[in-house]
């Protein structure tokens, strides 16, 4: 029998070493896996971004008599560790329900791909409905520049100045009854023919039976804020012949000059135009904004949201129209 020279001990040590490295590796895998899970669950809440969005929403809620303007502090909002960008979205043409004659009979027609496009838009909307993705849905109607600068899918339906066929369809999409939608269509036609406007009292009466379904979508509030709208939109609108505004260019120039100096109030807007307060122009031009795009970046994440000032819901304490998010998306940078 040959003597044992310790190889058995070495083998045991080797086995133990192998086992210990195997165990260490497995333990490391488990720890990493758990760490990733915990980190994932923690990170995905993105609560700080949403908290900041809530702060911005609260700042946008204000008295309806105070005009919204590009000089508002919300557009230069700063917060340590956050990058915030706010853009007004509603003072543009909403191709989903724009009155096609304003588009066809003013310089706004330059935004269309051809002269006949505005009049075919009406039938297209009846056949194909509306979309939030306007660049795709109305690709055959408008120029690239129009989509970038002058169009928006965000704006409420206005009974006094939007297309009556679009209004009828919008009422049905919003959940209103077909017969009610057809009735509203006929009322709008009558009002246009008699050159009258629907006032607030009439609006309340009209919506009574369908108020719950429609009051947050349909109203008579002007969608373009004179302090925000592009000067091309304002000048073009004022030149619309049926408005019968004398010295349209001078009126437009004085409005644009005045808003450069300081935000225009509704009373100042009426004074500047020299028009009757019930003039149809003021169903288009007002001093309030309704939709905003908000982008908040922090900690490697970006929250993009669209905020809307509600037409009918008000804060119980302040009485101001509520500003609420209607879309949001969080992305890793």
């Amino acid at each position: 029998m040959k003597p044992n020279e310790g190889s058995g001990t070495l083998e045991v040590i080797l086995v133990l070493l192998l086992l210990s490295s195997f165990i260490s590796g497995y333990a490391l895998y488990l720890m990493t896996s758990r760490h990733i899970t915990a980190k994932y669950l923690k990170d995905s809440s993105s609560s700080n971004l949403f908290m900041t969005l809530g702060e911005i929403s609260a700042l946008l809620e204000k008295d309806k008599d105070i005009p919204d303007s590009p000089t508002d502090s919300i557009y230069t909002y700063t917060k340590e560790g956050f990058k915030v960008e706010v853009e007004e979205l509603s003072s543009r043409i909403n191709p989903n329900w724009i009155y096609v004659h304003v588009l066809a009979e003013t310089p706004l027609s330059k935004l269309c791909l051809s002269a006949e496009k505005p009049l075919t838009l009406q039938q297209y909307r009846i056949d194909h409905g509306f979309s939030v993705n306007i660049a795709k849905h109305y690709n055959d109607f408008f120029t690239k520049e129009a989509f970038e600068k002058f169009l928006t899918p965000y704006g409420y339906v206005n009974l006094n100045n939007d297309d009556e066929f679009a209004i009828e369809k919008a009422i049905i999409e919003a959940g209103g009854e077909n017969a009610f939608a057809a009735y509203i269509h006929s009322i709008i036609r009558q009002k246009r023919e008699s050159r009258e406007l629907i006032n607030r009292v009439e609006l309340e009466q009209l919506l009574t039976s369908q108020r719950k379904k429609l009051a947050d979508i349909i109203g008579i509030e002007p969608q373009w804020n004179v302090n925000h709208a592009d000067s091309f939109l304002i000048t073009s609108l004022i030149s619309y012949e049926p408005f019968n505004i004398k010295n349209a260019v001078t009126v437009a120039t004085s409005i644009i000059a005045a808003r450069e100096a300081k935000p225009i109030t509704q009373i100042q807007l009426i004074d500047l135009t020299g028009l009757n307060p019930n003039h149809r122009l003021f169903t288009w031009l007002g001093t309030r904004s309704w939709f905003w795009s908000v982008t908040i970046s922090s900690g490697g994440k970006t929250l993009h949201a669209i905020l809307a000032r509600s037409l009918s819901q008000t804060d119980k304490t302040t009485g101001f129209n509520k500003v609420i998010p209607i879309t949001w998306e969080v992305k890793n940078q």
């Binding site: 045991v12 896996s33 939030v132 999409e173 919003a174 947050d216 979508i217 809307a308 819901q313």
Partner: protein, 173 residues
């Protein structure tokens, strides 16, 4: 002592005594016993660890999928035809990707959780869920899922839709 370490002497060719062999055997036996106990305990821990890891993987992927699925529910702000059927063990929604006709369902099945968007189905095995609506200011903004995993592990997953309709809406069926 010199006798005990006899094997260190290179000139010694006499082999081991019975006592030396017995002591070595005893040492090896005790080492083997320790190793056996350790291995047994390790295998138990490994099994438990494997379960935790599987749970962790399910949590990560199910959470990610549920959040992405719900973020793809995008009714336009003016639309009233948004329907949400939120039962405790199944959820059915329309407006998947903004299309009113494309339906998303999340439901418990015998093989786990099925998440179906249009024709596409994703299954998460060995788990189930309960669901309830998340309502903010009377507007339905998303769904809270409680994922139930093996060994009674539960995880809360808060999900939000990609967009919300403007009118006050909250109705479960």
């Amino acid at each position: 002592m010199i006798h005990s370490f006899r094997f260190l002497n290179k000139n010694n060719n006499d082999g081991f005594t019975f006592l030396e062999s017995a002591v070595a055997s005893l040492m090896l036996a005790s080492l083997s016993l320790c190793l056996l106990l350790f291995t047994s305990s390790f295998l138990k821990s490994a099994e438990s660890g494997k379960l935790s890891t599987q749970n962790a993987n399910t949590i990560v992927f199910a959470t990610e999928t549920l959040r992405k699925t719900m973020a793809n529910i995008k009714p336009p702000y003016w639309h009233g035809a948004f329907t949400a059927e939120i039962l405790e063990t199944s959820v059915t929604l329309n407006f998947t990707g903004g299309d009113p006709k494309t339906i998303t369902t999340v439901r418990n099945t015998s093989s786990g959780i099925d998440i179906q968007c249009g024709d596409q189905v994703i299954n998460f095995s060995n788990c189930s869920f309960t669901a309830k609506p998340i309502v903010s200011g009377n507007i339905l903004v998303g769904i809270e899922f409680i994922l139930k995993l093996p060994k009674a592990h539960t995880v809360q997953v808060l999900t939000a839709f990609g967009s919300f309709i403007m009118k006050e809406f909250y109705e479960t069926k």
